[in-house]
């Protein structure tokens, strides 16, 4: 089998797999941009050119001084070469003023002059290259994130500037500056530190204030208290008693904490923008037939009685009855059923199913909340609310830590006063306790590990959607898998490919159809073949052509006129496709849903680590049992409805912490009920919304990788806590006894923070998993 020059996918044409790729290639050549093919460095297959989405763009267009402007989310960007190609091809068009792709968020912004170029042309040009575009309103989607990120970065810059300068001045103080110089240095320090703290401390003060307002305690409460007290007491000391000041500790504390906070937010924004793109790019419009004309309507505005036109490869947008056309539909996402179902006039279809073969017309019988899909969504929402009650480790630590520290400071104050010190001295000692116990290292211990882990997983195509997923992963005792699409690839795989002429003829015929079995047959062929030209398609049944005077038939047993005797010879649990040549030759091709690579090794690993793998499938017993036996899973459940899967996980969840891995719409309620959940990037949008973790790629090895990573992260976090606490255990007694000078406070604070950060860097290397 050849490789398509443009999309790098398997192709049975000589150079291109389809006319779309050929057109894209010539478009690129024509624009003198063919160095694109040398520039791209990634090896994964590219997406094929797509039909441009036809929709009303007007609400997304806004005017600027230079021209009209629109923002798009772009699907299919792999590396910088894609960014380069999109920008170049658009900016070569007359009328386009600027086209800029943000590679981090995979968003495109185009400014153009409406007299010379239309938005439809923009969408068509880019779609013709293989990238899907979806307009979005930047005000709704990203402005708050962007603003927050900029604010944090600004705070970080100010804290960095102030702490570096105050530190320089403090060196002079520590070196033993004489009275006047000391006073000068202190005044300059205060001049920098006071506005610096007031501005850069805002993220913490705001969050602490909000927590207190709702009678919670988070880490920001002790942090804010320590920073504010330190600054205020230092200022007071400087003005009234010419005593010691702790400005440098206060600003450095903020600087370190802001680094942690900024990194944390960056990872969050990145995974959120990927999630937004994933859900935003799902089809949101449907085509309806009205008075003989075709109209694109948003899914939300569909009404009962309207006629939907569903093209092959499209999802059905609403529940309904087929009124015209024959096809087969893939219900795997909704039911877990692995064999496509044949539909014909009068068949009932459900929203969320995929039409595979030929266009059908569907009369809508239910929309919105009445569809089976909406009922599943409802179930997902209910169970998601229950799960959100999980308290992150950081907050639990804060709850424990804050009262202890504040009591200690209070006791120090009372202790020294009882001991005969003045209130002023006793207060200073108490503040010193607050400064050294300020949970800088502890506040950094969790987020730095979380950030390092998330970015190392990110590089391997695993996106952590939920911040607490890692913590929950460490407690998992059982891993439940869905079958179709999760353990298997959800694609039909020919069991015994051959290379005789009969097989080649069958493949040449199959190349004319988009039925999953035909696609599986073509994929199994490793030679270039020429598809037959004159083929008659009977959607849902088979294909027919005449070759050298003989009739060739490919399709169901009935279609090929297979008699009962030959039927019985064959195993009926597998998907079959028959091929007849003339009167005599009759061949049966058998298919199975191929396992994901590594599925067996992953199960072996899980069993070895006592994770009790389990299969929960909506499919029939025979295929489920066959897969379970094949990969060595002892416990399996079949014919489960979405509700039954959800109930099953609820039941299991009472005794054990269960992790669910699933991809279909029917898995979504189970995913949101499970203690932790994972979904492949190829899964339905509903499953992706419900899952905590999304993994890309074909292999299932993401499951052991996240489990091992979570364990390693847990170890590193605990080590971080030990480090932070050991600094505190030295510093607190010293502070209580009144031996802490500003110098020592600064040393303890920065040393502990830096050790914790360095330790967290261990997570960036990630874990290795070998079967």
């Amino acid at each position: 089998m050849n490789q398509c020059i443009h999309c790098l996918q398997e192709s049975y044409g000589e150079k291109f797999c389809c006319s779309g790729c050929e057109a894209a290639y010539h478009l690129i050549q024509g624009a003198n941009l063919d160095s694109y093919y040398e520039k791209r460095i990634c090896e994964d297959a590219f997406s094929k050119p797509v039909e441009a989405v036809d929709m009303d763009f007007a609400p997304y267009i806004n005017e600027t001084d230079e021209g009209l402007q629109v923002h798009f989310m772009v699907d299919g960007i792999h590396c910088a070469a894609c960014v380069w190609l999109i920008e170049q091809i658009l900016s070569k068009q007359k009328g386009v003023i600027s086209a800029r792709v943000n590679m981090t968020t995979k968003r495109l912004r185009v400014v153009w002059q409406p007299e010379e170029f239309t938005i439809q042309q923009i969408v068509q040009t880019v779609a013709g290259l293989g990238y899907r575009l979806m307009p979005y309103d930047p005000k709704l989607l990203e402005s708050s994130d962007k603003k927050k990120e900029r604010e944090l970065l600004l705070c970080l810059a100010i804290a960095g500037f102030v702490s570096a300068n105050v530190m320089l001045l403090s060196v002079a103080i520590w070196a033993g500056a004489s009275a006047e110089t000391l006073s000068l240095m202190q005044w300059f320090s205060a001049l920098l530190a006071l506005p610096g703290v007031a501005y850069a401390g805002q993220p913490f003060f705001k969050s602490a204030f909000n927590a207190l307002k709702y009678r919670h305690i988070n880490m920001d409460v002790p942090i804010s208290l320590a920073v504010i007290l330190t600054t205020v007491v230092s200022a007071y000391e400087m003005v009234f008693t010419q005593g010691e000041t702790f400005f440098e500790s206060a600003v450095m504390l903020l600087f370190f904490l802001l680094i942690g906070r900024y990194l944390e937010q960056k990872v969050q924004i990145k995974s959120r923008s990927i999630m937004e793109s994933l859900s935003g790019l799902q089809i949101t419009s449907a085509s309806i037939l009205e008075d003989g004309t075709l109209k694109a309507v948003p899914v939300k505005e569909l009404k009962i009685g309207q006629i939907l036109l569903v093209m092959p490869g499209e999802k059905i947008a609403a529940d309904g009855k087929v009124i015209n056309g024959d096809s087969s539909i893939d219900t795997a996402m909704l039911t877990g059923e692995s064999i496509p179902q044949t539909v014909t006039e009068g068949s009932l279809v459900q929203a969320g199913c995929l039409n595979t073969e030929a266009a059908i017309q569907v009369e809508i019988t239910a929309v919105g909340a009445q569809t089976a899909l909406a009922q599943i969504a409802d179930l997902v929402e209910k169970s998601t609310q229950v799960r959100n009650a999980y308290t992150p480790l950081a907050d639990r630590v804060a709850k424990l830590y804050a009262p202890v520290v504040h009591t200690l400071a209070l006791l120090t104050l009372i202790g020294w006063m009882l001991n005969g010190s003045s209130f002023h001295d006793a207060l200073l000692y108490a503040v010193a306790v607050l400064i050294v116990t300020c949970p800088c290292a502890i506040a950094l211990a969790i987020p730095t590990v979380a950030v390092a882990t998330a970015s190392s997983l990110f590089k391997r195509g695993i996106i952590l959607k939920s911040a607490t997923a890692l913590e929950r992963l460490t407690r998992v005792q059982r891993v439940a898998f869905d079958k179709t699409g999760t353990l298997t690839l959800g694609a039909q795989h020919l069991i015994e490919p051959s290379d005789d002429t009969i097989f080649e003829l069958a493949v040449s015929l199959a190349a004319n159809s988009t039925h999953p079995l035909s696609v599986g047959l073509v994929k199994a062929c490793n030679k270039p073949i020429t598809p037959f030209q004159d083929v008659k398609d009977f959607p849902g049944r088979g294909l027919k052509t005449i070759y050298k005077g003989e009739e060739l038939l490919l399709g169901s047993a009935e279609f090929c006129g297979v008699d009962g005797v030959s039927m019985q010879k064959k195993d009926t649990i597998r998907n079959q496709m028959w091929f007849r040549r003339g009167e005599n030759t009759l061949v049966c091709f058998e298919f199975e849903d191929a396992l994901r690579p590594d599925a067996k090794e992953v199960i072996t690993f899980l069993k070895y680590r006592h994770y009790s793998p389990t299969i929960l499938s909506g499919d029939r017993e025979t295929p489920v049992a066959a897969i379970a036996k094949d990969i060595g899973v002892e416990e399996y459940h079949f014919l489960l409805s979405p509700k039954a899967k959800h109930d099953m996980l609820e039941k299991m969840g009472k005794d054990e912490k269960v992790m669910m891995v699933g991809d279909g719409i029917n898995d979504a309620p189970a995913l949101s009920t499970a203690y932790v959940s994972m979904a492949p990037a190829s899964s339905s949008d509903m499953a992706q919304v419900a899952a905590d973790i999304i993994f890309q790629g074909r292999s299932l090895k993401a499951v052991p990788i996240v489990l091992l990573t979570a364990q390693k992260a847990d170890k590193v976090t605990k080590a971080n806590f030990m480090l932070a606490l050991s600094y505190n255990s030295v510093a607190i007694p010293l502070a209580i006894m009144g031996y802490i000078s500003p110098l020592w406070a600064a040393v303890f604070m920065s040393a502990s923070s830096i050790t914790v950060m360095l330790n967290a860097l261990r997570m960036t290397r990630g874990v290795t998993w070998r079967s």
């Binding site: 160095s35 590396c79 380069w84 943000n102 981090t104 500037f161």
Partner: protein
């Protein structure tokens, strides 16, 4: 040591200039796409040239 009275403000002023430059860069969006910026530098084609070409086309 009186010289410190001038030198420290000068040092702080210079630091503030740097901070100002950073804030300007931040506000003008230079920190919005760090991944893209890292890769863009590797492509040697000059987009300005293309734009000039286009403009002459338009004329």
């Amino acid at each position: 040591m009186e010289v410190l009275v001038y030198l420290i403000p000068i040092a702080i002023f210079m630091g503030l200039l740097g901070l100002g430059a950073f804030i300007w860069a931040l506000k003008s969006g230079q920190f919005d796409d760090l991944d893209g910026a890292a890769s863009r530098i590797l492509f040697d084609d000059d987009p300005i040239e293309d734009e000039e070409e286009k403009k002459t086309d338009v004329q």
